[in-house]
Structures are given as C-alpha cells and as structure tokens.
C-alpha cells in the first residue's frame, strides 16, 4: 500500500517536473493579445469605436474596457473573428458606433480647396498631400476611407466617394442554390 502511494506520488512529482520544465523551455513565443486583436481590426483608424485609432481600441478590448462590436468598418466578419479569438459570443454591431458602409475614399474638390491644412492634421494615415495655401490632394491608395478629414474642412470641399467595382477588384460570386425549399 505504502509502496504504491510512494510510487504514484513519485511519478506525479517527476511528470509534473517534466511538464513544468517543458512549459518553460519550449514556450511558444506568441504575439501578445493586443497585436492579435489589432491584426483583425481593419486599420481604418476612424475612431468610430470611441478610441483614437485601432491600436488603442485593441488595447481596450484586451483589457476588457471595450466590447468587440464597436468597429463598423470591420463589419460582422470582424466581430466574428474577434469573438473567435477571444472565445466570446458573437453579438451584432453596436449601432451607437455607426453602420458598416461600402469602402470609399476621400476626394478633394481641388477648385474649392483653400489650402488651410486642417484636413492634413485630421488624416490618421498621412494620406493627404499639401501645404499651407497650397491645394491639397488625397493619395487614394493610402486612404482608409475613415472620413475624419470631412468635418474640419471649412469650405466643404472633401467628399467620400464609394469605390466602384471594376474588373481588377471584381470577385466571383458564391454559388447560390439550396436544397431546402423556401418556407
């Protein structure tokens, strides 16, 4: 009896030690949670979530200061991915933070621009080119479509233009058919 107990506890100690050792020795270097959350966020940097950018929102989610359904550009798919990553229940987008829109880019009407640089300061990704009293223009490839440059413009010369589907961005559709009858 005693021998059995000793053997079992000895085994437990040895195996526990092996497990503990390997946990330390072979630890997988993993991205911190914030990075993983940030990788899911769309990087629009629009601030609609209530945080000044995607990284701060990621930080807030990681610290459970914010919910996962505050990002309109990320859409439903983004929320699903966050829910999966964090092991949380999916919930629909919080309407307080806006509705998902089709991706668009800012376009400056260059005839109206007075060169005030206010939009330059608002752009979170430095996608507007210009200088004081010089006409400004948007780098379309870099624009995330956040719309932050629209309100500061004193002459309302910035418009958010939805991206149209063209051959280069066109996607094959999901084949739709169902076995079930429509009820």
């Amino acid at each position: 009896m005693l021998a059995a107990i000793l053997v079992m506890s000895g085994l437990a100690v040895v195996l526990g030690a092996v497990l503990g050792f390997s946990a330390v020795k072979f630890r997988v270097q993993d991205n911190p949670l914030v990075e993983k959350i940030d990788a899911i966020l769309p990087q629009t940097q629009c601030g609609q979530c209530g945080f000044p950018g995607c990284k701060p929102y990621a930080q807030a989610i990681a610290e459970e200061r914010a919910d996962i359904n505050q990002c309109p550009p990320g859409g439903e798919e983004g929320i699903r991915k966050l829910a999966e990553l964090l092991g949380k229940e999916f919930k629909p987008l919080n309407a307080e933070h806006g509705a998902p829109k089709t991706k668009s880019v800012a376009v400056i009407d260059e005839r109206l621009c007075i060169g005030c640089t206010l939009c330059l300061q608002a752009c979170p990704v430095d996608a507007i080119l210009g200088a004081a009293k010089q006409m400004h223009t948007v780098l379309a490839a870099e624009c995330t479509g956040c719309g932050l440059c629209v309100p500061p413009c004193p002459v309302d010369c910035i418009a958010m233009v939805e991206l149209r589907e063209e051959i280069a961005t066109w996607k094959w559709k999901y084949p739709v058919y169902q076995f079930k009858r429509a009820s």
Binding site: P175, F179, K180, R181, S183
Partner: protein, 346 residues
C-alpha cells in the same frame, strides 16, 4: 449560366440504379435456393424506406421528389433486407429500415451527410436488440424438411403462424458461421464440423452460391466504374490473409480463408456496403486502409467475438476512422514534391 456548359450523363440516381441492378443476380439466386421470402423482405424494406425518407424530407422542408428519386433510400433498404434473415417477422425489417433511414441517414443531414452506413446501423441495432430473431435464418430448400409456399411464408411473417403445428426448426437453421462457432465451442474440430450437411464446397450450401452472385454483381459495378477496386480488394485480401494465417497455424480450430470469404456478409460487404462512397474513405490509399481495416476487424470479430458475423461492426468502426484516414492519405498534387496538407502550407 456557368461553365462547363456541357456535363456528363451520370447522376446520383443512375449510380444508385446500377447498384440495385448489380444486386439482382444475388436476389434471383436467393429466390431459387431459399424461396421467395426475400422478396417480401425487400418489398417491406423498400416501402418503409421510401415512406420514412419522404416523411423526414417533408419535416426538414426538402423537396421530396428529387431526393426520393435519387434511389439512395432504396439501396439502403435492399442492402438491409439482404443482410437480415429473410424469414423473419415483418416488424423486424420495418423497424430496422426505419431506424436506418430516420436516425442514421436523415438525422445526420440526409444524403451525403451521414457518418455511418445507414444499412449497417440498422442491422447493428437489430442484432443487439433482437438477437434471437436475427439469427433464425431460413434453411435452403435442399436442406429444409418443410417447404413453405409463398402464402405460408406470408402467413408466418405477418401472423407468426406455421402450417399445422410445424416447428420453426423445420424451416430455419443457424448460419454456417454460427454453426461453426457453436460447434467449435463444443470441442469439435473444423474438419468434422464441415462434414455437417449444411456445409458446401466452400461455406454453406446455398449461401455460397449467393456469395458468388454478389461477387459477380460487384465485378459488374467495378466494370461500370461505380466502384473502384481498392476497397473490395483490400477487404477480401486482408480477410483472407488473416484467416489464412490462423488456419495455417491451427487448422483444427480456425476455418480456412475460402470459408471466410464465401460466408456471411463478406462478399455483400466488400462490394456493396464498404464501397458506399458517403461513409467510406475517398483517397486511393485511404480506400486500401479502409478496406483492410474492415477485413481485419471482420475476421477478429468472427474468430474471437460473440456475434455471428463481424462485417456490420467492422464497417461501422471503420466509418469512424474515415476523416482521419482521408486527412492522412491525401495524394500528391501534380507538380508538388510532397503531399499537400501537413507541412506544405506556405
């Protein structure tokens, strides 16, 4: 419309129809050697299967016509009827078929989604629940002391009565596999057991002829490209190898390989049941493993288990392994140095 604009002529229903046609020689042999009771069983099973399928499709809001006409329910019904003792009470085949269609097929998602072979699930449930009824096999005409007419068979199956105080023993008997098992337990050697009148050249009188017919039907399916050779070949070869090894080791206590190949559900299982595409492995290598696994398990259950035959359980056990087998036997893709799957993800 989407390309390709032209398609081949095959369809699910033609595949199923070919399977049914390939079963006909065996059904004919059954009728000639054992009497027409099997036809009643097949009819009962078919009607039950179609009714259950239609009911479940309706419940699940699926269109009934295309899914009834695909023929998959009929195949399940025929296979189950052929696997069960023909001269059995009517409710046995009805309950078995209903369970196969409702639980094993439709509750798993219907055509294409079931994990387990529906016919074998029905068989397994019946043999566990009603072992007595499931082991009363009809004796071939050549051996039976009493010949029942078609009407008398109907009377027995639906009313449970035999004409003029005849005993059940007069029309039924144990299967060759069952006889071998019980006689071995009584201490007889294989050699003396096989001298009994129910045994023929290879296995049981009558039943071995049916087995030949299954083989012929199976070869027809292979020729028609409905099945590939992998699963039947691996199944039968493994069963023969395992039986052969034990037979060579101890011929007094283990039956020879040809006995195993020609008795029980071996031929039916190898060509018609294990080759069910939905529940079987799909890669060539996977099919070999799948078939070999069934062959080995069948032999183990027959030789060392307590059930009269092992094919059903072997198939079900291997069904569980299919996703794993498929995942680990993905063939090399054209222009790839190694197999896809593990390790090749960029």
């Amino acid at each position: 419309m989407n390309p390709p604009y032209v398609t081949g002529s095959s369809s699910v229903s033609t595949i199923m129809l070919k399977v049914l046609l390939a079963l006909l020689p065996a059904v004919a042999a059954y009728v000639l050697l054992f009497g027409p009771a099997i036809l009643i069983g097949i009819a009962l099973a078919s009607a039950t299967a179609l009714a259950c399928e239609a009911f479940m499709l309706r419940l699940r809001r699926y269109p009934i016509k295309p899914f009834l006409l695909d023929g998959s329910a009929l195949v399940t019904a025929w296979l189950l009827a052929l696997a069960m003792p023909p001269l059995a009470p009517w409710w046995l085949v009805v309950v078995g078929t209903a369970f196969a269609i409702v639980v094993a097929k439709q509750l798993y998602g219907g055509l294409g989604s079931n994990l387990f072979n529906p016919a074998m699930v029905g068989y397994a449930v019946m043999i566990i629940s009603f072992p007595a009824q499931m082991t009363q096999w009809q004796a071939p005409h050549a051996l039976a002391s009493l010949h029942l007419s078609f009407l008398q068979e109907l009377q027995y199956m639906f009313g449970g009565t035999l004409p003029d105080g005849a005993k059940l023993d007069a029309v039924t008997m144990a299967t060759p596999l069952d006889t071998l098992r019980t006689q071995l337990k009584l201490g007889h050697s294989v050699e003396t057991i096989r001298q009994m009148p129910i045994f023929g050249a290879f296995s049981g009188k009558g039943s071995e002829t049916v087995a030949w017919c299954y083989l012929a039907g199976g070869l027809l399916l292979w020729q028609q490209r409905v099945i590939t050779w992998h699963i039947p070949a691996a199944f039968l070869a493994t069963l023969a190898l395992a039986a052969g090894a034990f037979y060579l080791h101890d011929p007094a206590h283990f039956a020879p390989p040809w006995f195993h190949l020609m008795s029980g559900g071996a031929m039916l299982g190898a060509f018609f049941i294990a080759t069910d595409p939905v529940t079987g492995a799909t890669t060539p290598k996977g099919k070999l493993i799948f078939g070999a696994g069934i062959g080995l398990l069948t032999y183990i259950i027959r030789a060392f288990g307590n059930f009269p035959d092992g094919v059903a359980f072997a198939v079900l056990l291997m069904n569980i392994c299919v996703p794993l087998i498929d995942a680990y036997t993905q063939p090399r893709v054209f222009g790839h140095p190694t197999k896809p799957g593990r390790g090749t993800q960029q």
